[in-house]
């Protein structure tokens, strides 16, 4: 805890303060099912300990959740973990982990708006969880890459077999990773950035 915040509210540690020159932020979203390693990935590359922001179901999401009957009767609160990487003295990157299931899509309104892109993190033991997510990202025009978090006991498929199963076009990168490792998670983010860059070069980014 920071001594300078003598209040009851704990703030960022002094070493976690952004410089006053920080002018703007960008965001990347990591999306996947529960337990797939989103928070692990955020934590492995974040310069701050991952923080949690809670989002409450609001009117915006009722239309979505109404399809799920009883759940719509109570307010839904979902926690999103996020981390931060200082890119330059002026620019900050935020990484948000968000659940991919359709009933959490109400979170997506403010989250994907303006995001540079997304990482769909998948576990080959529960591949189906990611199907709807990818469809939704395609509909929203959010560019994404697919990262396979390699759990030791998960079935391993050749990448091209996964590409066929996921019905992904050839240009969308699919890479294996170990979300616990900083270098591996960074490589996933680099893969996304290179993909975005190639889209920018070809003028296909919309």
């Amino acid at each position: 805890m920071d001594f300078k915040n003598s209040d009851t509210i704990p703030g960022p540690r002094t070493e976690d303060h952004l410089p006053h020159t920080a002018q703007a932020a960008v965001k990347i979203v990591i999306v996947g099912g529960f337990g797939v390693g989103k928070t692990t990935m955020v934590g492995s590359v974040s310069e701050i300990r991952p923080l949690t922001t809670e989002e409450t179901m609001t009117q915006a999401g009722i239309g979505v959740d109404d399809n799920y009957g009883s759940e719509s009767k109570t307010a839904t609160t979902v926690a999103m973990d996020f981390g931060r990487i200082s890119i330059t003295d002026q620019l900050v990157l935020y990484l948000f982990g968000t659940p991919g299931q359709e009933r959490f899509w109400f979170l997506w309104n403010g989250l994907f708006e303006g995001a540079l892109g997304a990482v769909v993190l998948i576990d080959t033991r529960r591949l189906e969880v990611s199907f709807d997510v990818m469809g939704r990202l395609e509909e929203r025009g959010v560019p994404f890459v697919v990262a396979v978090n390699s759990f030791p006991d998960a079935p391993r498929y050749p990448i091209e077999e996964l590409r066929t199963a996921l019905d992904l076009s050839p240009e969308i990168p699919i890479i294996e990773c170990d979300a616990r490792r900083r270098a591996s998670s960074r490589d996933v983010l680099m893969t996304l950035m290179r993909f975005l860059h190639s889209l920018a070069m070809s003028g296909a980014l919309t």
Binding site: K27, L116, G141, E161
Partner: protein, 142 residues
Amino acid sequence: MTPPQRKRRRPRPELAPPPLPSVPPTPESGGEDGDNKNPERLYVISGADGARAELDLVTLIVARAAPPPSVTPEQAALLRLCLAPLSVAELSAYLNLPFSAMTALITELITAELVQARAPIVRQALPDRSLLEAVMHGLQKL
């Protein structure tokens, strides 16, 4: 062993991302008409140029002044937190308030000219390659 096969859903035009509204929705009109309107969005006046700015999870908030006696304890806590720039998401985490509550709180502080909001860089139709390259360069240093 073969992985399960994804079946693409039929394109559903009504699920296309809503266009950014050119006119900020008023509280009266925000909830009722039109599926494209998002009632939780708040539009605020930015101090510098009078242009309307929208608060994002990654909008950076910086205090412009020490908390005056007139502010609420929550606002005072927020002002102390953002002596150095902090994103709305971080403020939400530290104050343990949901994003929707944060936007209301911050909007009041912007109106009172007690904080400054630094808008995020959003993905655009005309992508900024130098921005992508800067991010890549920053990631390589990790």
